[in-house]
């Protein structure tokens, strides 16, 4: 039997409100973590890195959940505008800054300051952040975030020196709803989200897409997001 009170408020409103509360908690949690870190001398306990990684992951998952839900309800629109690719890269680095400071991972960026792309920068930056976050977890020592132009596309690439993507995440159909891998806990939701968002970016006959392989110049995983 439907719950009348819930029907009158509306599930989207309840979901949005819950996400808002959790985001507030995450902001406070991050601040508390930062205060705690200041108490410890370098090298700081490894647990901080894990905590930071997990808060980033929770934040990404929440955002993806709400965005995908809204796309499903046709209540979502891209806010497409012109952006300097370097600004998006800078934003990703800013979002990852705490985690980077806690680990020995080097995040290398390569982007021509004169490169511009047309996209919803908040969404693209979030989608890429999730994947950079993952790379930081699975790499050995470095992650490269670069932006280049390939024909009519601006390409954001994330390459690392880890073990590479598992077979099921390479050249798969990203449009398939991800299945939970109970052994690794890997859902592939980040890739599914990136593909969904990429596909929403259209210019004329061209549409955005993603590619994953293990062709990183450092020998690990390589993710590429193509925006028309």
């Amino acid at each position: 039997m439907p719950n009348n009170q819930m029907l009158s408020i509306g599930f989207p409103a309840i979901l949005a409100s819950s996400v808002h509360d959790i985001k507030n908690s995450l902001t406070a949690l991050r601040a508390l973590l930062s205060q705690l870190e200041n108490i410890y001398q370098d090298p700081k306990p490894n647990e901080f890195k894990h905590l930071e990684f997990e808060t980033n992951r929770m934040n990404s998952s929440l955002m993806q959940l709400l965005t995908l839900y809204k796309i499903d309800l046709s209540q979502f629109s891209l806010a497409i505008d012109e952006h300097r690719a370097a600004d998006i890269v800078e934003d990703i680095v800013a979002q990852q800054s705490t985690l980077l400071s806690l680990s020995n991972i080097e995040l290398i960026t390569q982007c021509d300051g004169e490169l511009f792309c047309y996209c919803d920068s908040t969404l693209i930056s979030n989608a890429l952040c999730t994947l950079v976050n993952n790379s930081q977890r699975y790499c050995l020592s470095k992650v490269l975030l670069s932006v280049t132009q390939e024909n009519d596309y601006i390409v954001f690439s994330i390459e690392d020196d880890g073990m590479g993507y598992p077979e099921n995440l390479i050249s798969s159909d990203y449009k398939q709803v991800p299945q939970l891998d109970l052994v690794t806990g890997n859902t592939g939701l980040g890739l599914f989200f990136a593909e969904t968002i990429a596909q929403l970016h259209v210019q004329g006959q061209s549409r955005g897409f993603i590619v994953t392989d293990n062709g990183s110049q450092f020998g690990g995983a390589r993710f590429k997001l193509y925006l028309p």
Binding site: A16, V19, H20, K23, N24, L26, T27, A28, L29, R30, A31, T55, N59, M63, L66, T67, K70, S74, Q75, F76, S77, L78, A79, I80, D81, E82, R84, D87, E90, D91, V93, A94, Q95, S97, T98, E114, F116, Y118, T122, L123, N126, Q203, G204
Partner: protein, 540 residues
């Protein structure tokens, strides 16, 4: 390099104490020394009344149900923000799509939660750079000098700053629309679209079509956008306007209803929904919207007693006189210090008691109206005064009715829409030609004034002629011909007896009035160019 906030005054509005502390800590790390905290929207506004802040970071959800958007609207309305101040709203991603519309104010940027020190610093720097770059345009807009703002925009476009190029084009097009130069606006938008399909440029093209009264084209453009971007609320807002202009209130209602479903928190959209639902006799929907408005209106600058009277009227229409009376009483209680609210409540009471068949109370309410009208008279809004004229006429008090109508026609004779409403009411109540006769005498007065000014002008008494035109302009502030003549005579005065700061300022002010009156761009631009030449001469 991180931005240094040592000399900046900062306001942090955030409901949660621990988050406020966090944000304060972040700003402190960037050198901030002067930080004021607020936990509610009311506190934030009070702080802004006390100090002029350089940076305001306001959470979207504050205590007391006032949102960050409402704080921004109120701050802009009360002119509490210096023109170069940065106002950022902290929010999560999902609010972004539902944020400002065609009528709301836009913040400088959004800070997405959760945020780190680096993110705050980077965003502040970006906003600061943008503000500095655009200051020359923003300052002119703030002073109402739209033509100068456009010229500054054009000059800055020549600098060929790639990061700001599109932003400048957007401003140029929007300013061109404001001064009625639709041709330039359309060209700017089309040039952008020829290179890249951008939703705001497409929307701009639709707005231009709307302004040129090409409503079919406008509606098609907005429909196309909504199809592609189903949550693009600005497209819905403009579609509503276009349907209204076409006289299709039912389609307008359908569009605004769709927008309200997506973003029910916008009080101005709810007001539009209530008005259209009322007009099209969708009583249930109107009631729902008015109820939402009253709830959203708590602590909002858009709160008004007309929301209560609107709701009460819907109850009257659905034969629920007791419920209507309940709302009228609530309205009088909520706005007890405001005599206008008492007057509106009394107007409602007449209808309610008539419905209930209680003539004694109808009479009592009427007497209250007569008394309040005597006290308030010209201070009342014109729509209400028109309604009062109707009530007096229906109660055979022609003297009071005529007094109001005479004054309304005299004051608003150049406002076509209002005059249409007035004529319709007079034709229904008093008879044909009532307003026309009044208008004729005013036209004659205008002709006499013009003759007098022309006589003085011929004699070479430019100052005297200007004085006469200023007298006319005080009487007929919305008359395009009067304003244009006044501008021309001051420009002639400048040409013959030299420029002075007073003459320049006063001409610019009348040109700005001409823009607001919607006088054709080609007529105004000639005068603006002449004024600019004199301005340049005086500056050299």
């Amino acid at each position: 390099m991180a931005i240094n906030l040592t000399s900046k005054k900062i306001l942090i509005a955030e409901a949660h104490a621990n988050l406020r502390e966090t944000i304060k800590h972040i700003f402190g790390s960037l050198g901030a020394r002067f930080i004021v905290e607020a936990e509610s929207g009311v506190d934030a506004i009070a702080a802004m009344k006390k100090d002029k802040f350089d940076i305001v970071l306001c959470d979207y959800d504050l205590l007391g149900k006032k949102t960050g958007q409402q704080v921004l609207d109120e701050a802009k309305h009360l002119k509490l923000l210096p023109v170069n101040a940065i106002f950022m709203i902290a929010t999560d991603e999902h609010r972004l799509g539902l944020a400002p519309n065609a009528v709301d104010n836009k913040p400088d940027d959004y800070l997405i939660k959760p945020f780190s020190l680096k993110q705050v610093s980077s965003l502040l720097e970006k906003c600061d750079n943008r503000k500095r770059f655009l200051a020359g345009i923003e300052n002119e807009i703030d002073s109402g000098n739209l033509f100068q703002a456009i010229r500054n925009c054009e000059k800055m476009l020549e600098l060929d700053n790639k990061s700001m190029h599109l932003q400048l084009l957007k401003m140029q097009a929007e300013l061109s629309i404001k001064v009625g130069d639709f041709k330039t606006a359309a060209k700017v938008y089309q040039d952008i679209l020829d290179k890249r399909e951008l939703p705001w440029a497409r929307l701009g093209l639709g707005v231009v079509a709307y302004c040129l009264a090409d409503y079919d084209n406008a509606v098609n453009t907005f429909q196309g956008l909504i199809k592609q971007y189903p949550a693009m609320l600005e497209a819905y807002d403009w579609q509503v306007k276009a349907y209204e202009a076409m006289g299709n209130d039912r389609l307008a209602l359908s569009s605004i209803n769709a927008a309200v479903t997506l973003a029910p928190q916008s009080i101005l959209r709810q007001k539009k929904l209530a008005m259209l639902a009322d007009k099209t006799d969708n009583i249930d929907l109107a009631q729902k919207a008015y109820t939402a408005i009253i709830e959203l209106g708590k602590n909002s600058i858009h709160r008004s007693f007309s929301d209560y009277s609107g709701l009460a009227n819907t109850y009257l229409k659905s034969n629920a006189a007791d419920k209507a009376l309940e709302i009228a009483v609530k309205m009088a209680q909520q706005f007890k210090a405001d005599p206008e609210a008492k007057l509106r409540a009394a107007l409602l009471e007449i209808e309610i008691y008539r419905e209930k068949g209680n003539e004694r109370l109808v009479e009592r309410a009427y007497n209250k109206i007569c008394e309040l009208n005597g006290q308030l008279n010209k201070q009342l809004p014109r729509e209400l005064r028109l309604n009062m004229a109707k009530i007096f006429c229906l109660n055979d008090n022609r003297e009071a009715c005529d007094e109001i109508l005479n004054d309304l026609v005299k004051t608003y004779v150049d406002d076509k829409l209002f005059m249409k409403e007035t004529v319709a009411l007079c034709n229904e109540l008093i008879g044909e030609n009532y307003v026309e006769t009044l208008v004729e005498s005013l036209t004659q007065e205008l002709v006499d004034f013009n003759k007098e000014a022309a006589k003085l002008f011929k004699k070479g008494d430019i100052r005297g002629a200007r004085g006469v035109f200023e007298q006319i302009a005080a009487k007929r502030p919305n008359n395009p011909k009067v304003i244009l003549n006044l501008i021309k005579i001051i420009l002639h005065d400048i040409k013959t007896s030299g420029a002075s700061p007073e003459k320049i300022i006063s001409t610019q002010s009348y040109i700005n009035t001409a823009i607001q009156l919607g006088i054709a761009h080609d007529q105004i631009s000639v005068l603006q160019t002449a004024l600019d030449t004199f301005k340049n001469e005086i500056e050299q």
